[in-house]
Amino acid sequence: MSLLEVTNLRVRYDTPRGPVWAVDQVSFKLDAGETVALVGESGSGKSTTALAILGLVAFSGGTVETGEIWFGGKNLLALREDELRAVRASEIALVFQDATAALNPFLTIGLQIAEVLEVHRGLSRREALVAAGKALGDVGIAEPEARLASFPHELSGGQRQRALIAMSLIAKPKVVIADEPTTALDPALALLVLDLLRREREQNGAGVLLVSHDLELVASEAKRVHVMYAGRVAESADADELFAAPWHPYTAALWRARPRLDGERPKRLAAVAGAPVDPAALPTGCAFHPRCEFVVERCRRERPDLSGLLRAEGAMSLRSGRRSACFEKERLALPREEASTP
């Protein structure tokens, strides 16, 4: 059994323009010691998926309509609020993207880290502060004890980022969800964050769910990748397979449009031709069809399911669990064959 298993997740936001299914039929697994990535352009539902795991979508006004999230033999979506609280940060931790916004400006760093241990491990404030000091030292903050009494605005951006990670990971969670952990950071800081996450995975066997729109990052960090488009999974595959030969036109376009290594790291996902999808007014059939170069008549009427290849060559995909939600995936997966048939 997997460490974390999300099945058939569906999340709705009620907006002034009507209901938006930010996440729909999303399923994936995460094992201990591995990194799984959710990628996709802005608005594809990555963050909503991440928040749903800890029962946090209600905070931003969303509703989980269907789905199961299995962790430690329990369906997190069926837990009471107090049971869920015991899981948060203690078993499953979220590393937020923007340390400046994620840390409370009114409270000291020490208190904000210590309270995690107080509530989950029953430590006294004094004991928890000692542990917090150690944790700050572990993430490379100089004079950690002195920093405990600092307020977030008294730290540098890098120190804040380190402190946020120390806070998120102090209870040694089994699952770490990192939502765009490097997006707002300069390259050196991004490396540091990745390093800390990797260490958590390798030394403590945590499973890492990496939410990102940085394909290079995902390609280098993740074992398995789920590409999301308009709230659904467009393609699921092991990272090496996925980037070697995408089975979905959207993945292919993303990969082609990615900024080159020598260029700057993108702030946003590189543009794929065509207008981004409007989640409040999804196209009929395949949501990607207005932008798809492989589009056929059927795409406008029917919605493709996430599945492996039908042909003999698809047997391989059954084993690796590779899937794509595209009617024309054979044309991408087996281009040679297509070339040979008239």
Partner: protein
């Protein structure tokens, strides 16, 4: 800290000086004088009275004499000691023009403690109740309870204080007979006026705390706190309350000044001899010295309370340094 206090003391002196000067000039610009409302005095008597209070002097000279301690009295410091008053800087606010046998200092010494006592009582309960209502409303946002509390606050803000006072008297004094109708001889006498005086403040604080807290609860760091597995009560108390209270605290400076200095309406209705009624009456009567005296007390109070609020701000929000205020 000393820096802050020194700067504020300087600011206070400057502010009061400007306020006094403006008030002094403005009062002389409106027609009429302290004695023009009375039966027409014979010209000779009027001149006498004016001379007694130096109203026959040129304005600048009156002003200098009023501010003190420089003595420009004809009688002089070493004269027959008939100087009318020593001047504001010497702590002497002069004689009242209308209350003939009283000095402004005496009037304030009698009325200010009454207003301060009534106002403090009103402040204490209205801050406590307003905060609780605001917190409950924000925590139970959108519930029936929240709706009722919001309606209550809107009423408290919208209803004029004489209506609230009237209702209170009608119910608790006249119908139930639990509390006296008017007067100021016991604590029970202060209950109804303090309720009427504090009601709009409580309502305003409730509203400010509710919106402030809701705003604070929508911050990213609150989501972090929830993701840490803290109980909601801790999230509110520890993570949201400080930020949420800031708007109410900035309102509290002027509000406290207003309540502490007494309200004409409340004091009239409940026959309480406070400062509030003197303020309006003195302006209408052209009782120059009394009006100026009350103005000075008010501006000192408002300025000090605002300084206090700034101080509270720096205690609550670590990002605001005392040195920068």
């Amino acid at each position: 800290m000393t820096h802050f206090l020194a700067r504020r003391a300087l600011g206070l002196a400057l502010t009061v000086w400007i306020v006094v000067t403006l008030a002094f000039l403005m009062m002389r610009l409106v027609p009429g004088g302290p004695f023009s409302a009375e039966r027409r005095l014979p010209a000779a008597v009027a001149a006498n009275v004016d001379a007694r209070y130096h109203l026959d002097w040129p304005l600048w000279r009156q002003y200098v004499q009023y501010l003190g301690p420089l003595n420009v009295d004809t009688h002089g410091l070493f004269g027959d000691r008939e100087r009318v008053f020593g001047g504001v800087l010497a702590g002497d606010l002069g004689p009242s023009f209308r209350h003939r046998d009283y000095t402004v200092n005496q009037i304030l010494a009698e009325s200010l403690p009454v207003s301060l006592a009534l106002g403090s009582l009103a402040l204490v309960w209205s801050i406590a109740l307003g905060t609780v209502i605001g917190v409950v409303g924000a925590a139970r946002r959108g519930s029936k309870l929240d709706l009722w509390l919001r309606m209550g606050s809107s009423l408290g803000i919208a209803l004029p204080s004489f209506v609230i006072a009237g209702l209170l008297v009608l119910v608790f004094a006249l119908t139930l007979g639990w509390l006296p109708v008017a007067g100021n001889t016991s604590f029970a006498h202060f209950v109804l006026p303090s309720l009427a005086l504090g009601a709009p403040v409580a309502a305003y604080i409730a509203r400010l705390v509710r919106t402030g807290l809701i705003e604070a609860l929508s911050q990213d760091y609150i989501r972090t706190a929830i993701a840490k597995g803290l109980p909601f009560s801790t999230v509110v108390r520890r993570h949201a309350l400080r930020g949420g209270l800031l708007p109410a605290i900035s309102y509290l400076g002027p509000a406290a000044a207003g309540v502490l200095t007494g309200s004409l309406v409340i004091e009239r209705i409940f026959a309480i001899p406070g400062t509030g009624s003197h303020f309006v009456a003195s302006a209408l009567d052209r009782d120059y010295t009394l009006a100026l005296g009350v103005t000075i007390v008010y501006s000192v109070l408002i300025y000090s309370l605002n300084a206090l609020v700034d101080l509270a701000y720096t205690r609550l929000d670590p990002r605001i340094a005392l040195e920068e205020l």
